[in-house]
Amino acid sequence: MPTFVYMTRCDGCGHCVDICPSDIMHIDPVNRRAYNIEPNMCWECYSCVKACPHHAIDVRGYADFAPLGSSVRVVRDEEKGTIAWRIKFRNGEKDMELLAPITTKPWGKFIPDLAEVDGPTDEMRSSHLLFNEPEYIRKDEGDLHTLESNGQKLKEGVYY
């Protein structure tokens, strides 16, 4: 279900415009507030919901957990490392809060480097964990395939 903006809470700062991967959050030229220009194209990635500093954007919840008229609000707290949800039904019978961690280490630190980890052994490749994976992922013939290893180069920009 697509996003919508509470125009009374929005102040037109443009954070949602910047972060929307579908490029459908824009600033209304009359009211100078954000709005979703194409709900059909919404990816429901919640990027705009999380990015809005005033919590002015909501996503309509799916009917299996939030029937029509429900309020689904989410707060992503980066410094605490948690994401909190609150789902309220319109008949007032459900007011549910959920809290889950989104990171267990500080942002930007302790990111594992693929080069430092040993590759899979033959025993791992023939085990149930990696058996069905493609060979170029399992490193059957050496390192991972990249553009450079195949003699290709990435041309920047649109050139067709």
């Binding site: 443009g14 500093p53 500080p106």
Partner: protein, 271 residues
């Protein structure tokens, strides 16, 4: 520095009465425009209906002393310090614009009605216009969402820009008039300020009356527990949270540290 309106009256170009009439007329235009805006958009109706809805989901009632404290807090924080802005650049620009506008308008009224020759008032008038211009141009060229988030050039103007454009025109022409004394700039200044005060129904002008009310209402929702249906602030080291949400102690430990900034580390400019 001298009172430029006093110079105008002394030169016989405009009568004192005409100037005062103009100020009163502009004031009435603002009041009328705001009332029409409220009636046409039904914003007051929506605001109070929303407040009633929020009160229904409140977990506690607020006493009138607490409400008074909230009003004071709103005025000192959200109004006087523009604390609703989380972006420091937007906040600074708004403070410059807001205080510049207030000082400019107040000193204009004082200068016109009392025809004082006080140098301090005249200096404040110029400083108010300067502050308004600095904050306004900073917003116009750099901060405006059309430019910073939508990637539009600064000269692309919409109806929503009526307020800021007329403010910039008013302050710029006032400053030019003050510096050069040329009557052309006086006329442009009057044209800009007339446009500013007569287009209240269609421009952003009235936000200065609505925003404090909205900020107060936001504080009320946080105080009475309705919180605009947002989830509560959880203390991650409390035992109650640990028993209610077992994922937290299992994956983050009993006393999770501050994780620092994630996507907020850099300002979004990804258009």
């Amino acid at each position: 520095m001298s009172n430029p309106f006093l110079d105008l009256v002394n030169s016989g170009f405009i009568s004192h009465g005409a100037m005062q009439f103009y100020v009163v007329a502009m004031f009435l235009f603002v009041v009328g425009g705001t009332l029409l805006d409220v009636m046409h958009k039904k914003s007051a109706q929506y605001f109070f209906e929303n407040a009633e809805k929020a009160k229904k989901s409140a977990t506690r009632t607020i006493s009138s002393t607490e409400k008074t404290a909230l009003i004071v807090k709103t005025v000192t924080t959200e109004v006087l310090q523009s604390a609703e802005f989380s972006n420091p650049q937007r906040r600074m620009s708004h403070l410059l614009t807001m205080y510049g506008f207030i000082i400019f308008v107040v000193t204009t009224v004082i200068m016109i009605f009392s025809l004082t020759d006080s140098g301090i008032i005249a200096l404040l008038w110029n400083l108010g216009a300067l502050s308004l211009a600095v904050g306004g141009y900073w917003f116009w060229f750099v901060i405006r969402a059309d430019v910073s988030a939508e990637g539009n050039p600064w000269y692309k103007v919409h109806r929503a820009d009526m307020f800021i454009v007329s403010l910039l025109a008013m302050s710029t022409f006032a400053l030019f008039w003050s510096i050069t004394g040329a009557m052309l700039f006086f006329f442009l200044f009057i044209a800009a300020s007339t446009f500013l005060f007569t287009t209240v129904l269609w421009s952003k002008f009235a936000h200065m009356f609505f925003k404090p009310a909205a900020a107060f209402q936001k504080r009320v929702t946080r105080a009475d527990g309705s919180r605009e249906n947002l989830p509560n602030d959880f203390d991650l080291s409390s035992a109650e949270v640990h028993s209610r949400f077992p994922d937290i102690p299992e994956y983050m430990g009993k006393n999770p540290e501050n994780m620092g900034l994630g996507i907020k580390r850099e300002e979004p400019h990804h258009y």
